[in-house]
Amino acid sequence: MVTQRAPSCNDGDARLVEQRLVAAACRHDTQAARQLIDLHKQRLFTFVRRMIRNHHDAEEVVQDAFLKAFASLESFSPEYRFSTWLFTIAYRLCLNLLRKKRGPLSAEMDFVAERDASAGPLAVAAGADDSRRLQHAVWQAVDRLSAPQRAAVVLFYRHEQSCQEIAQVLELPVATVKSHLHRARAHLREFLEPVVAQEPAKLRILFGLTG
């Protein structure tokens, strides 16, 4: 599978809608502010949740990101996307929180395996759903990446952002973003080879991959 990142007509329309909502929110339009929040809150939370790995902390970061964004809305330049700006603020807040904690990632994470083990029919166990086991393994491997590498792969794969957009969010050059992606993939291969190397064909069938 080859990942494409070409802009589409829908992106242009979405950007126009976003600009109108931002302009209205600047004029104290509460409905516009509500729409802006609802448009981005879950995507932002998904990203922050992958960075912070703690539900409560992630929710606080998302709230703080919106508060900071709205506090500076009048100075926001329409040449940039509001969503990119929002993700940038959230990413900075994630880094600050991770630096404050400075503990091993596992100490701060919600233990997905433990939650699954207590979830009855959703338990991850030997002989259980292969795809779910693989998903669990993949995300555990992602959690072991450094913050910039983790942000790069999550934004690239999960949020389908281009390297240019990721560079804006992470406030890094595009070449650095590509370097992070390259190293992240190398690490993920290293972490996951024992899990998937034996049955790549089966996994490709599981996920409907062709080629």
Partner: protein, 213 residues
């Protein structure tokens, strides 16, 4: 010439990201078909990417609370409010500091200038409260006088000299009403002292002799 594994691996990222030119993409695809090891690596990369794009951590995706937006809107201030509030806070703080400084300067000028408060360049005599002379009535009158002078002083700075003189005159009137300044009220008059000595005062026996008839 067919691509080798090292050349192919250098292009895996770009291949997975769709950034290769069509000819190069074809070469990598051809190598992939021919090499099991590279095929496995590429498959892993694609599977990992696919898993992350799906992002199903478990059957119940992690979601924000339903009232998240409502709660957030109550915290969001209208744009520009934070900046205006900061400006207002600075102005209030600055004004407060100035007010405190002015009050302190005024209080210190009153406190330290104890000998002769000056008004319009004229040295004035400080009005002291009258000495205690023993009666509550006079004391009350003196206190009232002091209060009156202080009130006039604060209200009529330009005419302070006149006020002070009036205060002195009024004080003098009070003292004159009390009578002699040297005589305390209620004391008995003092008899003039006899300056003769004891010997001079001893009685003379000749004064007691009987006269001849």
């Amino acid at each position: 010439m067919a691509m080798n594994c090292e050349q192919a691996r250098n292009l895996f990222d770009a291949y997975v990201d769709g950034e290769l030119s069509p000819p190069l993409e074809m070469e990598v695809s051809a190598h992939r078909l021919a090499c099991a090891s590279c095929r496995q690596e590429l498959a892993l990369l694609e599977v990992v990417g696919h898993v992350m794009s799906l992002d199903h951590e478990d059957a119940e995706p992690d979601l924000l609370r339903p009232d998240f937006t409502d709660r957030l809107l109550t915290c969001i201030e209208p744009p520009g409010t934070a900046a205006a509030r900061r400006r207002s806070r600075w102005l209030r703080a600055g004004g407060g500091v100035l007010a405190i400084a002015a009050s302190m300067a005024f209080a210190m000028s009153l406190f330290f200038n104890s000998s002769a408060p000056r008004v319009a360049g004229v040295k004035a005599t400080r009005v002291a409260p009258p000495p205690a002379v023993g009666t509550a009535e006079v004391t009350d009158a003196a206190d009232s006088l002091v209060r009156q002078v202080e009130s006039n002083w604060s209200r009529h700075a330009d005419g302070a000299q006149t006020v002070i003189q009036m205060g002195e005159m009024t004080l003098q009137n009070v003292l004159d009403r009390l009578g002699s300044k040297d005589q305390p009220i209620g004391a008995d008059p003092v008899e003039p002292r006899d300056s003769r000595s004891f010997d001079e005062l001893r009685p003379d026996p000749a004064d007691d002799a009987i006269e001849d008839l």
